[in-house]
Symmetry: C2
Subunit: 473 residues, 2 copies
Amino acid sequence: MPDLAQLRPSSIAVVGASANPDSPGHDYLKCLVDFGFKGEVYPVHRREPEVLGLKAYPSLSDVPGAVEFVISVIPQEGILDLVEQAASKGVRAIQLFTGRFSETGREDAAELERELLQRARAAGIALIGPNCMGLHDPGWGLSFRPDLPRRLGSAAFISQSGNNTTEVLLHSDVRGVGYRMALSYGNALDVTEAHLLDYLADEDEVRVVGAYIEGARDGRAFLDALKRCAGAKPAVIFKGGRSSAGARSAVSHTAALAGSSDVWAAALRQAGAIQVRSQEELIDLLVAFELWGAPPGEVGRNVGAVGGGGGRAVATADACTDEGLAIPQLTDGIRAQLKERAPQLWDWVGNPVDQSILAGGGVSGAAILEMMLADPAFDLLIANVGEDWVLGRPDSGDRLLHLVNRFAEIGKKSDKPIAFVLGPADSPDEDRWRAVEGARTLLVDAGLAVFPTVERAAWSLRKYVDYWGGRSR
Amino acid sequence: MPDLAQLRPSSIAVVGASANPDSPGHDYLKCLVDFGFKGEVYPVHRREPEVLGLKAYPSLSDVPGAVEFVISVIPQEGILDLVEQAASKGVRAIQLFTGRFSETGREDAAELERELLQRARAAGIALIGPNCMGLHDPGWGLSFRPDLPRRLGSAAFISQSGNNTTEVLLHSDVRGVGYRMALSYGNALDVTEAHLLDYLADEDEVRVVGAYIEGARDGRAFLDALKRCAGAKPAVIFKGGRSSAGARSAVSHTAALAGSSDVWAAALRQAGAIQVRSQEELIDLLVAFELWGAPPGEVGRNVGAVGGGGGRAVATADACTDEGLAIPQLTDGIRAQLKERAPQLWDWVGNPVDQSILAGGGVSGAAILEMMLADPAFDLLIANVGEDWVLGRPDSGDRLLHLVNRFAEIGKKSDKPIAFVLGPADSPDEDRWRAVEGARTLLVDAGLAVFPTVERAAWSLRKYVDYWGGRSR
């Protein structure tokens, strides 16, 4: 079994380093600089004496010091020679951006891949990939693209797809998910999903694990590792290649054997993992599990909801019910408070709270949210920002910030999960974009979980309760 | 039955007009000015001689000319007096922002509502609402909020919720949906969903109808009208109050009796309408049906897909299969062209096309999209923009525009539906937002249908084929 302590090496050579900003050989090296990798960095370039201001070496063998970790960005023809040099240098792991192996469907390429594995194993070198983007570990100063987020946190994501790793990192970052590590591991020739899940199960800094998997190299090992991992922390699995066309596509992508969709679904369930069906669902659950954390005790299914107009109140109730959550009536305690503060409204307003009923009535949605947080009848909360209404009013930007600030203050003090609902800033209008992004950034900076629709909020709360509801802590 | 020709009046009085920009009495009047209403406009204000530069009158009775249509923004106490004045003036319709009637759950308010209806009927005045935002008809110069979109088109949307009307208009506008009319009709006291669907069935300018309905005032009339409407054009229904908590919420919102969810689902199906379960689904189908229009002939279920990396290719195949669409292999004709233009790749690349396989291979995803459009084996197309990859490259903005321009050129010439997939610009980074919004605006301005995820693209294509597939034209 490959030694995954190598994922945090103290010296790295980038073989195929390049000054051309439109090449991966540039990006890997640039990331080591930009993300602040603390160890030794050795660019390897056949001719250039220097790349990105760092002294370069014509070959790996020419590097003077010890090299623990190699990032290979060279074409596949040179790969066996590289392994030979790595073996002599005592290299412990090679990450292979290098691709065009078994995924091409060609016998000579598959044969080269087998040879590569055999030689690496003989030399005790772990292989990551081939055909992968590799590590993103901002806390260790490693990444594969200079524009990837620096946010640190307790999420981990492993994926057979490089593009989907990029997409997940970018779109979860803007929602506040920080990473202990992400890894695009391509063809999983040597380091497999099983090794990685096993490793992540034991990493205390990791609180939630996401994975995009096209096929398992070794079904038994995979399930054992997944069971360990899912027993220790939420494990969210996006299985690619569920359909026959998808499976065909997975073969040409990572040479993965996708397997039967039903078998996978049953196996994931049995292992205690959470299966998702899209990248959006995956991101929603990274947000939910990282930002809500583990509940302090038992967690029930009663939802209190505020914000948005009457249509949103109805949609919130329907969405929660669809997910098996309950929307109890307002309690006598809350009704008594409302009767005092809003005598015109107390017998009209319900749960979910229709914000438009409250207008001018002496009590705000935020105030009712606070009442719900203090009331044991409510386990989970939904706070609709309702920005589309606010943005039609004068001084809309300030109003929105005021409202969201109040929500953020309440949210920071809450020990119950709150799903804030704030739609996408999908507008060519700059003021709108600034207002909505500003509001979201404010919530995210307060460590709060934001969902773009009430349906996705309700679904995420349900998955959270499904996982944590009956678990002993 | 109310005469809905009154929805395009030639003279309008805004009773309760106001110069305070933070009031609906301001917004209605401002819209008549800003949206360019061509007829007579009469602000009515108890004291002010002028509102927003227009001569104002102390009461409706004081207005000198004829008034066809009244927008009422006064409190409910004055409503019977207003109806009396309206009757004397020969007013044909009153749109009531005025609320706090039966939706409050109070008997005196419900009694006032009944009295209102009786007096209006006696005077031959149609009532829109109460408790509604009313008309948005940019082609006729009418709206209820100055920031609502001006885009004209062939969609219609009717809704019992004012906020959701605003949200649907804003978020469908940025995706290219233009409106013949939208109407928030609140409590449906007089003008009901049945009248409106009947009216829209006959409106030739309307090609797709969306509706958010909490309850039907008259089940039989509703189903008859829906059947007529759905027989003439796609009718997309978002039913609010499917759950008991949602139904309870609907009562306090519009006093609607929501009815059994199963009965509704069966009835909608039987009427030939398309039921959606969220605002996002509703918007996706307005995009699909308006922008793709009716197909010229039979339309099958075979999807050709390009763009994005390997993970996206797999996800595209899975999503299409989940929706009952087929992902056929590339045809011999296309393979022959690929063999000529990309001899390194022709036997590796498949459908969906994995963009990362194509790198440097002599053929682009756009070129393969064109081959698919020309090949009768493909009925429907998905084009993943893959912006997250592009935006990590140098000159990313220009590259993205170049790629999207090429897609737009191809899309404009296509007589097959193409779903373009371009994620939300949900980033606090201004360059990213500009690039993604610029790309989307370019596609939208070319009249093309853009979806934020491949799952939503596949679902929308399926609903399109379900509706048009077996229909004679």
